[in-house]
């Protein structure tokens, strides 16, 4: 019996990675849920907006690096982030002008907007590849570890090492700041409240003199900011590859729906539910169990529910269960 080592293993392979992944998904789902709450459609271009925002940030990072700018020990990308956000915000505002505004004025069915977002997805995908190519890119130039596995072992004398990567810490800290700022904005400012009012009851918001075009524009800017941040954090933590961002679309949608589409708190909860389920279901618990049971009970084979290739099946399964039993999500979302 060795609880300490079991806990360290669990922390190292499940809790820490799932927390940072959960924060990334939560930020992604926040973007989807905001767009849904205000513009009332599921934005299929979200994954590719994320990829574009990250690509823009990477390009600016390279520019800063070539100028010799550095904020070591933090990655330069954090300094490039505001520029990436500006570029992405300009792009999505342009997209709204060129594409979505027309359907909004026509009061088209939501599914037409979903369709248009598929077209936008194509274009953004092409733009991202044009900007930065298709290969995998590592752009984290900060210090790699906050806690290093080897040093941890030496310091504690435990058999298991604990590694805490700086990107994981940065992800969590940034996510907390972003979420705090968003909720402060939505709950305390005039513009933020007008967004909530618009999402609650569009007709009444119009009667109260709230300008819908302004609400929409602010929503796109905020969504662009959160999305770019989420994408950059994901890229710093893992690596940048455009296709991986498209694949994030499913867990992000699942997170937003699990939490209740249109509900920001739900999106955050949903992000962590999906991330923890995904990691826990695809993690091999053999080592953890081995520490907890008497020596001769040590399992011979892997104790893993699903292989990592099927991590998307986890989001899907959770999505299906929520759709079957509680289509409005855990926290009350907009409507079925």
């Amino acid at each position: 019996m060795d609880f300490l080592n079991a806990i360290v293993t669990l922390l190292n392979y499940v809790i820490i990675p799932a927390s940072s992944y959960g924060a990334q998904l939560a930020l992604g789902a926040l973007g989807v849920t905001l767009i849904y709450g205000i513009l009332r459609f599921s934005n299929f271009a979200h994954g590719d907006t994320m990829a574009f925002g990250t690509a823009a940030t990477i390009v600016v990072t390279w520019g800063l690096q070539s100028l010799g700018v550095s904020i070591s020990p933090l990655p330069t990308a954090l300094l490039a982030l505001p520029f990436g956000i500006l570029i992405t915000a300009a792009l999505v505002l342009g997209t709204d002008r060129a594409v979505y505004r027309f359907y909004r004025a026509k009061k088209s069915a939501p599914i037409i907007l979903v369709m248009a977002s598929v077209g936008v997805m194509f274009v953004m995908n092409g733009l991202t590849r044009f900007l930065i190519g298709v290969r995998e890119i590592q752009f984290d130039d900060g210090v790699r570890f906050v806690i290093n596995a080897r040093e941890f072992k030496a310091a504690t004398g435990l058999a298991e090492g604990l590694a805490l990567r700086s990107t994981q810490v940065i992800t969590l800290v940034t996510a907390v700041i972003v979420v705090w700022a968003l909720f402060w904005f939505l709950g305390r400012t005039r513009t933020g409240k007008s967004m909530r009012a618009f999402s609650d009851n569009e007709d009444l918001a119009l009667l109260s003199g709230i300008n819908p075009e302004k609400v929409v524009a602010v929503t796109w800017i905020i969504a662009a900011a959160i999305t770019t941040i989420a994408g950059t954090l994901f890229g710093l933590d893992k690596s940048f590859k455009a296709f991986n961002y498209f694949q994030l679309l499913l867990p992000i949608f699942a997170a937003a729906i699990v939490g209740g589409l249109g509900n920001p708190i739900g999106a955050i909860a949903g992000g962590f539910v999906i991330a923890f389920s995904e990691v826990a279901v695809t993690f091999d618990f053999r080592r953890v169990v081995a520490y907890l049971v008497p020596g001769d009970w040590t399992p011979s084979g892997p104790i893993q529910l699903l292989s990592t290739e099927y991590k998307f099946a986890v989001s899907f399964a959770i999505l299906i269960i929520v759709l079957l039993f509680k289509p409005t999500g855990l926290f009350k979302g907009k409507s079925v």
Partner: protein, 234 residues
């Protein structure tokens, strides 16, 4: 001078007209009630006054100014406020935030107006941190009226404010409406509960098929045997 004059309004939502030369007048500080059978175009007339429906004929004058071409939002800025019959609050927002949203267009300090609303509807002050969607039907109507009052309107328009509330709550709402009118705000409302509404009305309009059938003071309409027989159930 008559504060609101909506004359000869003709129009509808599609190809078919619902209003046929309907005329409504509201004096300053008066309560004017529109009654009539189902489908008479009562709510439509109200929406036409507020600009939510394109008129093919007639015009709307507010305080001597022709506002026929203005959007509903612009009419809010001119001093009109409208309380729709259903979904008339922001359900996930607190009572106080609902009131703030009512004052969205105002740039001055709204605290005094909010105190006035709380004085009119004390229960709202008690529940000001609670989400409007969690309140009872009668309290929600109070929030809706309160939200409309936040713009400091000169004309308050209510579309069936007592629909779906109990008789006791209805009486209380009517009392509040009288109080609002005493502060100099003109009131134009559509009511299903015609008898009770005419009781508090200075003027009443009976609409039938989109045009005026009877127009008189509330008292006179209640006393008119024809009106009583046809519209008030004896």
């Amino acid at each position: 001078m008559t504060f609101l004059v909506a004359e000869n309004m003709t129009g509808g939502y599609g190809a078919v007209d619902i209003l046929h030369g309907c005329t409504l007048r509201v004096e300053k500080g008066q309560i004017v009630v529109i009654v009539g059978p189902n489908g008479a175009g009562k709510s439509t007339a109200m929406k036409a006054v507020f600009g939510m429906l394109k008129l093919r004929g007639g015009h709307v004058m507010l305080d001597g100014e022709d506002i026929s071409a203005l959007s509903p939002q612009a009419r809010v800025a001119k001093g009109m406020a409208f309380v729709p019959q259903t979904s008339n609050v922001f359900p996930s927002m607190s009572v106080e935030e609902n009131l703030e949203m009512g004052a969205f267009l105002r740039r001055d300090n709204v605290a005094a107006t909010m105190e006035q609303v709380y004085a009119l509807f004390p229960i709202l002050k008690e529940k000001r941190r609670q989400a409007a969607g969690e309140l009872s039907g009668g309290q929600r109507q109070q929030v809706a009226v309160g939200r409309a009052l936040m713009t400091e309107p000169k004309l308050l328009m209510l579309d069936e404010p007592t629909a779906g509330v109990s008789p006791i709550v209805m009486d209380e709402l009517f009392d509040r409406i009288i109080e609002v009118a005493r502060t100099g705000i003109s009131i134009l409302m559509v009511e299903q509960n015609a008898r009770q509404a005419l009781n508090i009305a200075n003027m009443g309009y009976v609409l039938v098929q989109g045009s005026n059938r009877y127009t008189d003071t509330g008292e006179a309409l209640l006393a008119d045997p024809d009106v009583r027989r046809t519209f008030l159930g004896g």
